[in-house]
Symmetry: C2
Subunit: 458 residues, 2 copies
């Protein structure tokens, strides 16, 4: 038997040189995105005003199994990757479980999350195409930070539409984005038609992620040399995040291990889609059959309680439509500290896999998540992000089941980031003021009622 | 020639199993600590009421060259170590320097700094001795966080005296310490005689590090089963931090490299003392002659403008006296964002080495430090702590000298931590409100005037 180290880092030589495109191995593909004006499937060219060409291509490419990671991106990855695969020896001991728990830790970079993996790729392709600026939105702030880092590396001006309540509540996130030269606009703003319209209706609105997306897209398509980039949901983002799973699989192979269960938190689905990619490949191709579990907050349960339907990716209803599990683009989740898990929809790829039975999903309540987070922090000495702690919760629950059954299962989960900027949430948990809010069936029905009507489809 | 990776991690097998005690190779030892009541050298036993026995022993042990790291501590180290040795390829390119810049990054753990290396050792020995609680002080908060992590790991109750202005300005630091079960008291407090006396004189005082030390020591010596622990300055802390230097040296050897210049920031001297330990050994034993540079803030210039004299380690004048470079224990540095570099004195070991010409020191101004910090962040995608950025500044200055002379020197510096909790400082730099404050000669003379008078010595 191999001696299992606490942390396993691959060498640079062992790092993946290609991303893995899960779609190439799917028996059935996700339904195509639709043009919001014509309800016809969008073509790659139709995406060019929004995304740069290579990214539009990656978005549509369902057949190329492995896609070379450009050398420049590989070099950037080497500044903070490989990320460690960690054996949770102490957590196992504290739980008294026979299960073997591994986690892939993506928080060891300044953006504090896995988001940098896609941010650098998107900035690279934009630069390569000769674009002169980018826009995006950010809610909790991790994506905005990651993209600002990537853009400052390529000297590419970036405008970040930051949901107004985050803008006001998270001055530190603002500061870190500005340290990397990102230009921040509180959304809704008077820099776009969408923003002006919303402000006119409600000057005191605190904004929403969907609205910030609408503003960022509008700004991109109306500015010369500018494109929009998004940190989750999209196929291209899952593609870039496959580096998480590829590294994990190589590391586990070095340890003669293979996961019985792979667990990840799911906001828009990018880290989960990346982590599970090579394991899902095994499952799709019949080589292995790990259980794969998506974990979402009970306050925003798109997989566990949403509809599998065509919906807009934003509140302003300007983006293409995607078929996905969704709570309706008008659904506003109640205040929830895991800001990165408050999206109404879910990656179309993951939605399809879930729909076809390749993946499970569970939803967990916030207070239970923070119980898991604080236990984990004390045992493993990493302060996890609230988002990531959803995966910790589910991993602990599975490990406790093993304790009951006596099974020594191998569990792998994704620890996507650190919680340094979420201390308000930790405080509210510690002082007992944190609450759980779960949408009622009536609230969900109301949101479903606003799903777009598409002639002949839904 | 070896291919140089961006980040080099040792394997677990390569990790040091012993700390290195620099004093064993010093030609002349630091002068002994003095009992503040008798002005006689303190004995190991006299330290027992303050420090646990093993730590008191390490404090006094000037002869054992290598000291075994207990297995339990080695196991804890494996949760977050080895820390990477990173080649700053991008920074070099941005500077256009022929110099090769390496840095040892100690910020990849939740405490965000090197402080955890000594915190876990101190908590371990306390637990081993059967102690039932610990006290400490914290200014900026890194040490308090690290010690809380270590104590929660050993289920050892901890009281942290946190300088009142930090307590009020840094609610997030408070929250993270509480997440690890640390009990925080704003200092000065009415839990000690020292605190009550200070509050009586000035109820609105915002506190000082020196005062928090006095309170923590008083609390420890008046509580059954309780001891005091300190995160810097002491010989034992430098001993534990030698792991930084030992790992660095092994990693550089693997790359066939040896530093011409070793640079570290210096607050109380613990990271610097740890980083330079094996290189200073080479220098003391005539095997090599690297330049060694301590970097301190111009606002608190203990080495560059202080006196080499016996002084108290705290403001309340309750601790033993140490001969060190000091600005006087009554010196209060002006508000300076690098909270971890605001100590009036300097490690007696480093003071002696500096006094004897084995080490250089420079002082740098805060705005220049943040210029370096933001440049570094953009090139290396790590947001450095303000303290650590002092070392970055000096490393950049040395690299720029190489650019002028055309010399391809090898520079190694210590990147002690991350700046997530220091975004106020980054903001004030970005918006141009950051200022530099340098004490006048008169201010220093006044503080020197209050140095303790010791019959027959000073
Ligand atoms: C730390 C962290 N984890 C997870 C997520 C969820 O995003 P995704 O589902 O795209 O991985 C986010 C999103 O902001 C995040 O910041
Ligand atoms: C990140 C960091 N670097 C450096 C220091 C300075 O301490 P020392 O001189 O003991 O290494 C501190 C002290 O708090 C710190 O937090």
């Amino acid at each position: 038997m191999k001696k299992i180290p606490h942390r396993l880092y691959l060498t640079e030589e062992q790092m993946p040189k290609q991303w893995y495109n899960l779609r190439a191995d799917m028996r059935e593909l996700p339904d195509p995105m639709l043009n919001p004006a014509t309800f016809q499937p969008v073509s790659e060219e139709e995406l060019y005003p929004i995304f740069c060409k290579q990214l539009a291509h990656q978005e549509m490419d369902c057949t190329t199994r492995y896609i070379d990671i450009p050398e420049e991106i590989q070099d950037f990855y080497k500044m903070y990757r490989p990320s460690p695969l960690i054996r949770a020896f102490n957590l196992e001991k504290a739980l008294g479980t026979p299960a073997k728990i591994y986690y892939k830790f993506e928080g060891n970079n300044t953006s504090g999350s896995h988001k940098l993996n896609s941010a650098i790729a998107q900035a690279y392709y934009a630069k390569e195409q000769g674009l002169t600026s980018l826009t995006t939105e950010t809610g909790a702030g991790q994506w905005g930070t990651a993209l600002a880092e990537a853009c400052s590396y390529y000297n590419l001006p970036l405008t970040v539409y930051m949901v107004k309540c985050s803008y006001e509540q998270k001055p530190f996130r603002k500061a870190i984005i500005e340290t990397f030269d990102g230009h921040i606009v509180a959304s809704p703003s008077n820099t776009t038609n969408t923003g002006r319209a919303i402000l006119e209706k409600d000057p005191n609105t605190t904004g929403s992620l969907g609205c910030a997306i609408s503003e960022a897209v509008e700004k991109a398509v109306t500015t010369e040399g500018c494109r929009y980039v998004l940190g989750s949901v999209l196929n291209q983002v899952l593609l870039h995040q496959s580096i998480i799973g590829l590294e994990s699989k190589t590391a586990m192979e070095m340890l003669d291990e293979y996961p019985d269960i792979v667990i990840g938190c799911a906001g828009g689905g990018s880290n989960l889609g990346g982590l599970i990619a090579p394991f899902m490949q095994d499952k799709l191709t019949g080589k292995a059959s790990p259980r794969i579990i998506a974990v979402e907050p009970a306050s925003c349960p798109s997989l566990t309680r949403g509809r599998y339907a065509y919906d807009f990716c934003d509140t302003g209803r300007v983006t293409p439509l995607a078929r996905m599990y969704t709570l309706g683009c008008g659904f506003i989740p109640s205040a929830n500290h895991a800001g990165g898990l408050r999206y109404h929809g879910m990656s179309p790829i993951l939605s399809k896999l879930y729909h076809d039975g390749y993946m499970e999903a569970v939803s967990v309540e916030q207070t239970k998540v923070f119980e898991a987070a604080t236990l984990f922090a004390k045992q493993e000495t990493i302060l996890p992000a609230p988002e990531s702690s959803h995966a910790i919760r589910a991993a602990i629950d599975e490990a406790l089941k093993c304790k009951e059954t006596g099974e020594a299962k191998t569990i792998l989960f994704g620890l996507t980031g650190t919680g340094y900027f979420d201390m308000n949430a930790y405080s509210s948990f510690l002082n007992g003021t944190m609450t759980d809010t779960i949408p009622t069936d009536e609230e969900l029905e109301k949101a479903f009622g606003e799903l777009p009507k598409i002639p002949g489809i839904q």
